[in-house]
Symmetry: C2
Subunit: 182 residues, 2 copies
DNA sequence: ATCTATTTTGAGCAACCGTTCCAATTCTGT
DNA sequence: ACAGAATTGGAACGGTTGCTCAAAATAGAT
């Protein structure tokens, strides 16, 4: 646990380095020595600040998972459009975190039961928030709006998935098409 | 290159083992010794049959990518419903290959440029085939049917993505809801 | 300026990675 | 039964992995 300024700074450098690597070279490309090289830190300093390599990686991943949620103070008021825009903003505005999030959800969650649960529970939160917004706007049944929310979110995730493979893909435009076509 | 029966049999066991591991523990959990243990093979036999560990893994991954396509003899005739059912069949009927496919698309393709291209080109094939079917059924413009196909496929991929995280998720039912609600 | 707590350096460690090599064994056609 | 080829077992290798530790350097409060 860092107490002096230099400690806090190298801590930040390590996190930044890990974030960058996770997004570019994936989970298994993010080796300790790669993190150290990029952060310009030796292993001794690293282990003075972090418990293990896993701790840094999990810290960054949690950060990414949390970032996918829209501002929590809008609960119960936001519109479908606002929620979709928040999703688009997350994906295109923070591509690094977005890639980490998607990659983790698919690859990492296979090994780590707790992580899979975490991702799923965030997904569930987003579905119900979207369902509420749909219900407010269209005045359908609870079950029906929930179904619509699930399908809409699946569409958004699928578009993000496509964007991951092809960075030239205009994910934002397609996402708006998706909402428009409901 | 196997010529005698025992060689062919251990080759099959190695492929099966790799398939199983890729789907269960992911790419970096699929180590050589894990493959060997599960296949009940020693390294000497392995390297008598395969060039490298990568060769086996790529073989299995290509198999998974190819398996996502519906039967090629239906081109130009199949309906939207048939294509969607083929997708559902792939995901739920061959969950092992499906998991590998999805995982590869998200994680593996980041490192391997050629692999990313391969996945994308298969995706493109599916989109255009779906667009053709939509056009035949709804008689809209080419651009419009293509957009619809892209969004529909994104939805399906998103649902598969959800199913990957939560094996209890009824992906087939939601996929049919998705088609019904167009 | 001094003293303690924090931070950094960097050599070194055990465990594991994919791979090589070759002698021993097993297979198949004759 | 024999010969030649395919297959197998398994010890060993160099490289990398994540990580430890003790000594040296630095920060910050007094």
């Amino acid at each position: 646990m860092a107490r002096y300024l230099p400690g806090l700074q190298t801590r930040d450098r390590i996190l930044e380095s890990t974030r960058w690597l996770l997004a570019r070279v994936g989970l298994d490309g993010t080796t300790l020595s790669a993190i150290l090289d990029r952060a310009k830190v030796r292993s001794g300093s690293f282990y003075n600040l972090f418990e293990s390599k896993d701790e840094v990686i999990l810290t960054v991943i949690r950060e990414a998972i949390n970032a996918v949620d829209p501002h929590p103070d809008g609960v119960g008021k936001d519109t479908v459009e606002e929620l979709v825009e928040a999703y688009i903003e997350f994906i295109t505005g923070q591509p690094t975190l977005a890639k980490i999030y998607l990659q983790t959800a698919v690859a990492g969650a296979l090994n780590d039961e707790a992580l899979a649960h975490r991702v799923l529970s965030h997904h569930e939160t987003r579905v119900s928030r979207l369902a509420d917004a749909i219900r407010r706007e269209t005045r359908t049944t609870k079950a029906r709006s929930r179904l619509e929310a699930e399908l809409l979110l699946a569409g958004l995730n699928g578009l993000a998935f496509h964007w991951l493979l092809d960075p030239g893909f205009d994910m934002a435009a397609r996402a708006r098409d998706l909402v428009a076509g409901r």
